[in-house]
């Protein structure tokens, strides 16, 4: 069995099993916790509307904070949008998902995917630099932050190297790229990358609680 066969077969199966197990563990583990009782009278009806609003209101910082954290948001959006575009509209990636869902969709030319990957990679390094340079951010960063950064960056680096054929041996490079994605998937449920699932829940919860107390109107 070559490294590529391992990456496309057993490694993928193991990674997906760990990913699915971890995701369900985390989701059920948190949702089955005892809910905090709010004994106060609701100040207004339809707290859920506030919850929905919260999803959008918190997608951009409160105006007075924009000069301070605006760049951080922009960099974050570039990273997330880049990740989304490359993952969904890169032809080899689409074919991976098409094999699961049973239908194909339109993809972007390789050159565009390469350009988006480079922009995303630059944004990832800007985010890391900001984390290292800013004393407060550096202080509150732990292993999880750096692991999440590394595991998100690695598939971009290896993917670009594969696309540009920069490896001494193409198949080994492709295998390393695929394995780097499986590493990301394995780590995903157990660290801060889980925010992909939690951000909706936490924004909704915050929004609906604020609404109940009379905010988010």
């Amino acid at each position: 069995m070559t490294l590529l066969d391992f990456a496309r077969g057993p490694a993928m199966q193991i990674a997906i099993i760990i990913f699915v197990l971890g995701i369900f563990w985390r989701l059920v583990g948190v949702w089955a916790l005892r809910q905090k009782k709010d004994l106060s009278e609701p100040r207004q009806k339809g707290a859920w509307i506030g919850g929905i609003k919260g999803l959008f209101v918190h997608a951009w910082p409160y105006k007075p904070f924009v000069p301070k954290v605006g760049t951080q948001y922009i960099v974050g959006y570039i990273i997330h949008l880049g990740l989304f575009i490359v993952l969904i509209f890169g032809t080899p990636h689409m074919l991976f998902f098409a094999d699961i869902v049973g239908f194909t969709w339109w993809t972007l030319p390789g050159g565009v995917i390469t350009a988006v990957s480079v922009i995303t990679l630059v944004a990832l390094f800007v985010a890391l630099a900001k984390r290292l340079v800013n004393p407060v951010q550096r202080l509150i960063s732990n292993f999880d932050d750096y692991a999440a950064w590394f595991l998100t960056t690695a598939p971009f680096v290896t993917g670009l190297m594969t696309k540009m054929n920069l490896w001494p041996h193409y198949e080994t490079g492709l295998a390393i790229h695929i394995l780097s994605v499986w590493l990301l998937l394995i780590y995903f449920p157990f660290g801060k990358l889980m925010h992909s699932f939690w951000f909706v829940v936490s924004r909704y919860t915050t929004g609906s609680r604020f609404a109940r107390r009379g905010g988010m109107s």
Partner: protein
């Protein structure tokens, strides 16, 4: 003068081939094998001095496709002359003799050229039950290849079966078939995989052996680097369509008619090392991708067993859905258990209030 005593230069002159044509041939071979142009005169001189090389071609567990490809590939050329120049002392499919006389010719060739003959092999060798599943003239092919290898200067495994086991070794591999280099480990071995292999690769390898007295530089799978360094994808004329994101979605859609990339239809070009894209088959007429079918990856080990030929390369090999369902169930159970423990802990801290 006997044919065996003639040098290649003398043989060429006898057949009316000019030195200019011979140099053109040498330049062609040198270029296909990435030998520097400055080496061409030296290569030509060395080749012209070469004596008739004894070649023993053994066909083991095979389909004869390799020899069909090599002998029917194109009209007679100087390359064919090289084949004429070697002394093909034994070849099951091509020789006139049969039975005891054929074996006698083989033994004589081995004896007369002990330590110097070149063994070409097509077909895999079964190992199971002492190799009894593939036998010629009362001798298993396992015994035969060991006996031949002893007096060989080098061995060239022709085709994917001889190189890696090929279709004979495909799951469930009932005969325990393997490639030659898994049996013979103490001789120079060169693999020329492909189903079938490319005739020009054979010409190049033979020419190189005659000119330099050694097999050419090989990669990690013992394939000549000169022909197997690049992937099909690297040299494919449809590569521009891949880069532009233009693909055929079925074999008869508009994309297919426009000659778009066949990646979505399962082409294995990106992970297949061979020279088909540049040399093509039938004297440069066409090759599988030009004919509208994706590369099967036939020059790579275990290509038969790598799932469907029509599944895109980036699609994973899923295994069973049960494993994922069990993982989800185990995740739910672990999550519930974690929540129960947390609730107990909350109760303990709050004293049940």
């Amino acid at each position: 003068m006997k044919e065996h005593d003639l040098t290649l230069g003398e043989e060429l002159r006898r057949q009316g081939i000019s030195r200019r044509s011979f140099l053109k041939f040498c330049a062609g071979v040198a270029s296909s094998m990435a030998i520097p142009a400055a080496m061409v005169p030296a290569m030509a001189d060395s080749l012209a001095q070469a004596r008739r090389q004894s070649v023993i071609w053994m066909a083991y567990q095979e389909c004869t496709g390799c020899i069909e490809s090599l002998t029917r590939s194109f009209a007679p050329t100087v390359e064919n002359l090289i084949f004429n120049f070697v002394s093909l002392d034994f070849q099951h499919a091509l020789q006139a003799a049969s039975g005891d006389r054929a074996v006698e010719a083989l033994k004589t060739a081995m004896k007369e050229n002990w330590g110097k003959y070149l063994v070409l092999v097509d077909g895999s060798i079964p190992l199971k039950d002492d190799g009894i599943y593939s036998v010629s003239h009362g001798q298993t092919h396992l015994e035969s290849v060991r006996e031949l290898a002893e007096g060989a200067a080098a061995i060239v495994s022709i085709g994917t079966c001889a190189s890696f086991g090929g279709v004979g070794a495909a799951r469930p591999n009932p005969t325990g078939a393997v490639g030659i280099d898994q049996i013979i480990t103490d001789k120079p071995i060169l693999n020329v995989p492909g189903c079938p292999p490319m005739p020009e690769v054979m010409t190049g390898v033979l020419t190189s052996f005659l000119a330099f007295g050694a097999l050419p530089e090989v990669d990690s799978l013992k394939r000549p680097r000169a022909f197997f360094a690049d992937t099909i994808h690297d040299r494919c004329y449809r590569r521009a369509f891949y880069d532009r994101g233009l693909f055929a979605d079925s074999f008869d859609d508009e994309g297919a008619r426009k000659g778009y990339c066949l990646y979505r239809l399962g082409c294995k070009g990106p992970v297949t090392h061979n020279a088909c894209a540049t040399l093509k088959f039938n004297g440069g007429v066409s090759w599988p991708i030009q004919s509208g079918h994706g590369c099967l990856g036939c020059s790579e080990p275990n290509f038969w067993d790598k799932e469907s030929f029509y599944k895109p390369l980036s699609a994973g090999q899923w295994g069973s859905a049960e494993g994922i369902a069990m993982a989800a169930a185990a995740g739910v159970a672990l999550g519930a258990a974690s929540a129960v423990m947390s609730r107990r802990n909350q109760d303990k801290i709050s004293g049940g209030k």
